[in-house]
């Protein structure tokens, strides 16, 4: 990863709310992060933590209403995606920013052949004719490791297994050689042995193609294996951000620490009892004017009910949004 390079994607203070009959839900709250060329940024969080909504809002994929992107800036190169019109966004989506979604069955169209679906972005965005697109589609299927690529172009999605379908999704996302690939829980629907295949494939493709990747997942194990940097999300905001080894070796936020302890290990000592995080994830109704984790936190201060902690630096390239300092066990001076 080239240090100090200009980020390909720079998100500042992104806010998204959903308008519902019961009031507004603050799904994404002042989220800021950047993505450097060629790096893999892991985004960890539970369902409802806002990780998918963040990525959907920055590329304009959320239906509005009910969603409303209320502020912030998303710089992609020298363009602010939040200010861009629909045509511009359409030209960027699928061409310069590729997507892979969680469920490969519902994100492929069952009535078109796989070949057609890979050729679609090539013809729309790159202006290729049918013949050139077919040649490129075959190359892409070979790139993602589908055997007998030429003849499989005429197959329909149901003729592929789950792992193979996810490979097809990756081929479509990579078709136009994107600068950024956003992968939303791409291996969650797959079995572990197939997940291992896909993770190997992604590591391999990163070396060959060098695009930047945002990898959304709830699985800390997957993140540990592939990410360069990690963002931990909880209750619609970023609670911790660090390089991968720093995050796992020196977690600062009580949520990150609890999350790492609650997952049982595959090796080494076996705990007699699992550590639990008491309580439930928060409902994000109401303005975010207190720490979202306070109800489940074992290091809660009186201040946590009054103020939402800002992200403060706490190590090399490491920041966290918490008033508690694990080094001293007391409050952090911010």
């Amino acid at each position: 990863m080239p240090d100090g390079a200009l980020p390909v994607l720079d998100v500042k203070e992104l806010k998204t709310v959903f308008r519902t009959r019961r009031g507004e839900v603050h799904a994404v709250n002042s989220v800021s992060f950047d993505l450097k060329p060629g790096e893999l940024l892991g985004v960890v969080g539970e369902s409802g933590s806002g990780k998918s909504v963040t990525m959907m809002s920055l590329i304009g994929l959320l239906p509005s209403p009910p969603a409303e992107v209320r502020g912030g800036q998303v710089m992609f190169g020298d363009q602010d995606l939040l200010q861009a019109d629909d045509d511009t966004l359409r030209a960027i989506r699928g061409a310069r920013i590729g997507f892979v979604f969680q469920d490969p069955m519902t994100s492929l169209n069952p009535v078109f052949t796989v070949g057609f679906q890979i050729m679609e972005p090539l013809r729309k965005h790159m202006g290729m004719d049918k013949r050139a697109a077919r040649v490129r589609a075959k190359e892409l299927l070979e790139l993602v490791g589908i055997p007998d690529a030429a003849s499989r172009l005429t197959d329909f999605p149901h003729q592929f297994s789950g792992g193979m379908r996810q490979r097809v999704m990756i081929a479509i996302a990579l078709a136009c050689d994107p600068q950024v690939l956003i992968a939303d829980e791409p291996t969650t629907a797959l079995d572990v042995t197939i997940q291992a295949q896909i993770l190997e494939l992604v590591k391999d493709l990163r070396q060959k193609l060098g695009m930047a990747i945002v990898w959304i997942t709830h699985d800390l194990g997957v993140i540990a294996g592939i990410a360069d940097r990690v963002i931990v999300m909880y209750g619609g905001q970023i609670v911790e951000h660090a390089p991968v080894k720093e995050l796992f070796g020196n977690p600062q936020h009580p949520y990150t620490r609890a999350l790492l302890e609650t997952v049982p290990a595959m090796h080494g000592d076996r705990a007699d009892r699992l550590r639990v995080i008491q309580g439930q994830p928060p409902v994000l109704a109401g303005p975010p004017d207190a720490c979202p984790f306070r109800a489940r936190c074992s290091h809660r201060f009186e201040r946590c009910d009054r103020e939402n902690p800002p992200r403060v630096p706490c190590g090399p390239a490491h920041d966290t949004a918490c008033f508690w300092d694990p080094a001293t066990g007391g409050p952090r001076h911010v």
């Binding site: 993770l199 194990g221 294996g225 796992f248 290990a265 595959m266 076996r270 008491q278």
Partner: protein, 341 residues
């Protein structure tokens, strides 16, 4: 660790088969069968937790349901407390149902959205006991306390609860009739990581309190390592390896178990950088058309010539450690046909 020398066998399954017929053609003649469970043998000791792991489609859920006789079994015997229930009629089964219960994967789908919590937990009591209204309510409150649900919520509906709480309702319902044996079919798969530990701890507490025996079906290998005393690994309708937890995780004998365990990502970047993964090629074959010989021979990294001809027998290779693999037998022709080291 579980004490096997002094434990009784509560459940014994011998050569259980469950084939779903496939009909095709104009006359809908039976043309084949999906061999969802194809000859599995295991026993569960009283008070232990047997983990049953495998990938989707391997037949682990079907196996769990078949043991409770939620399906008509094709062949084999299921002995619970000394009586074989494999061929019993639904009426006969009704009498033994209170003893064996189930917790389902998706708490959203397994609770009736139009019944209140007290209705859901009380339904087995209505069916199988003749408690008065007052006694029934007392029992419902007792069960809600046991699984950590607030009594005040007894008249609420399932949609008013979170996923973890719904799973607690499902567990309370399973406990209502004082069962001895519970099949937990992926009870935590639909829950968030931070909620999974709560439910697993609850299951462990209940096991200690009521002396329950679990068949814990899951694809989450690290959670099974936590909860199970012994673990069975299934692949394409068959158990390929069965052993006490530590030998299975520390020294897996079957190449499939080895690959499966090595594929689990560890939440530790330093360990991740050094692990050698066994990446399996290809996908699981269809259970309607399993390969000849060993079921795993199409993907096995250590496949031999004999594997394509003869289905390996499931046998004991170390005390309490069973595996179905030719690598662990002394065949005369084993070395002659070896294709990979």
């Amino acid at each position: 660790m579980f004490d096997y020398a002094n434990a009784d066998r509560l459940v014994e399954v011998v050569d259980l088969k469950l084939h779903f017929p496939v009909y095709s053609g104009v006359l809908r003649r039976q043309t084949g069968a999906v061999k969802a469970v194809d000859g599995v043998t295991f026993e569960i000791y009283e008070g232990e937790t047997l983990g049953l792991v495998g990938e989707s489609g391997c037949g682990k859920s079907t196996c769990g349901r078949a043991v409770l006789r939620l399906y008509e079994v094709t062949d084999g015997s299921i002995t619970i407390e000394g009586t074989d229930i494999a061929t019993w009629s639904p009426e006969e089964l009704r009498r033994v149902r209170p003893k064996m219960q189930m917790v389902f994967q998706d708490p959203q789908a397994s609770l009736n959205p139009r019944m209140t919590v007290s209705g859901i937990i009380g339904e087995p009591l209505d069916e199988h006991t003749s408690l008065s209204k007052k006694e029934k309510l007392a029992r419902i409150y007792e069960l809600m306390d046991a699984v950590g649900l607030n009594r005040d919520f007894a008249h609420r509906y399932p949609h008013e609860f979170s996923g973890g709480q719904r799973q607690r309702i499902g567990i309370a319902r399973a406990l209502a009739l004082n069962p001895r044996f519970i099949v937990c079919d992926e009870p935590i798969a639909a829950l968030d990581v931070s909620i999974q530990a709560q439910v697993v701890n609850l299951l462990e507490d209940l096991q200690k309190e009521f002396g329950l025996t679990y068949l814990f079906i899951s694809h989450d290998l690290s959670m099974v390592r936590h909860i199970a005393d012994r673990v069975a690994v299934m692949y394409l309708g068959k158990i390929v390896e069965l052993a006490p937890r530590d030998p299975l995780y520390n020294e897996p004998k079957h190449p499939y178990t080895q690959a499966l365990l090595s594929a689990v990502p560890e939440p530790d970047p330093n360990l991740e950088a050094t692990t050698q993964r066994i990446i399996l090629e290809g996908d699981v074959p269809s259970p309607a058309n399993p390969p000849e010989g060993c079921n795993f021979c199409t993907r096995c990294p250590r496949v031999m010539e004999i594997c394509h001809r003869i289905d390996p027998e499931f046998r004991e290779i170390a005390p309490g450690h069973y595996a179905a693999c030719h690598l662990h037998y002394d065949h005369d022709d084993k070395n002659a046909g070896e294709t990979a080291p």
